[in-house]
């Protein structure tokens, strides 16, 4: 297998992968709850609430990329929006947040919706 051979030649540091994905995961679950609070206060219902969540979590990843990944990744010759310096899977980096925080989002969304409109 050529990819296995490539891994032998230029290995991946497992601890760094774990450190990075944990950082991103923590941020995503924390912000997802925050978006739930926002959606609850705004009184969003059904599809508009989920749309709010999708937009916000993409925004989070974008902000994370701009503030944390881009400053070191661009000078090292990576293309824009390429997070491969810190994350193995691009798809996971950009969309992983949607799944990670959904439960937390719905929890705080319903909670604050109920609190505000009691």
């Amino acid at each position: 297998m050529s990819s296995e051979r490539e891994l032998q030649i230029s290995p991946i540091v497992q601890e760094a992968v774990m450190n990075n994905s944990k950082t991103l995961y923590n941020l995503q679950s924390l912000t997802a709850s925050l978006f739930g609070v926002g959606a609850g206060i705004l009184g969003l219902e059904s599809y508009s609430g989920f749309l709010f969540y999708v937009v916000c979590s993409l925004l989070t990843t974008m902000l994370f990329y701009v503030l944390r990944v881009a400053p070191t990744s661009l000078p090292s010759g990576k293309a824009a929006f390429d997070a491969s310096r810190y994350f193995r899977s691009q798809f996971e980096f950009w969309t992983g947040g949607l799944m990670n925080g959904l439960a937390g989002f719905i929890l705080t969304w319903t909670l604050f919706y109920g609190l505000v409109r009691a």
Partner: protein, 329 residues
Amino acid sequence: MAPSLLHPPSQLSPAAALQLSQQAPAVLQNSPSTVSKSPFSALFSASETPELWIKYENLLLSCLRTGDELAAKQCLERLVARFGDGNERIMAFKGLVKEADAQHNGELETVLKEYEQILRDNDTNIPITKRRIALLRSMGRVPDAVSALVQLLDFSPTDAEAWSELADLYLSQGMYPQAIYAMEEVLILAPNAWSVHARLGEILLMAATAPGAAGASYQKYMAEALKRFSRSIELCDDYLRGYYGLKLVTTKLLKESAKLAKQAEEDGLVLPDTNTIERLNELATAKLSEIIRHSTAQDRGWRGYDQGEVAVARELLSEDSSAASRIER
């Protein structure tokens, strides 16, 4: 800054070791001497962390080195109180303190006898086995140390540290092929260790320049050294030591290219052609001068290099450039 107490102190400079050992009174005072095992007291005091004991171990080593026996003994007492007399690691530390205390050879012999007694009771005690080997080497009985080490490696062949020690022992005796073999074993166990690749390259270079090596074996050693240094910089960007070795090897090869080109190529390892070597040499020069420039200017993100190593690299480059200008003239 004071070096962290969480890292083993053996490679530190004397100044850093001194600084560490001066922390001893403060550390000993501020850290708990014993940790109670009852769950009730855990409610009131800070919980036990592995770092605490690592700290004590490293403090012990630094204090022994700087001759602060009092603090060293205190550290040891606390370690013994926590882990008990029978712990293999603790036994090795106790032996270490005795070694440091020994004034003359007779006392060392006694310590050695104690080690042997321990090993008779339990010959799988690896820390003590290592201490015994180190003591033998320190007393100048290198052949004994080698045979003991080989025995240990028969018993636990996956101990990279022991293989590395064996390589060093062989190297100190000038037995290059054996040292190279042992170093290759280390690389099998830790294939991505860039510093080990560079170290093997250095040993190969030593073997090539040793008086005994000639002809085919010389070429083979040089080719392999070139390969090892190249791998070390492939595994680690901006690796000063790797580029330094690469520069040495390629410069040497270029000087002798006329003589070497004719030689046979039956061996598996063939030197790359002169063009490639020249390009490698240029790369090493460029990288070394970049590292030296940044490191001398203390640029942000370039402060990790050892100043001594940088100075040596600068010397090599200036030598090289003066040689080049002489040829041009």
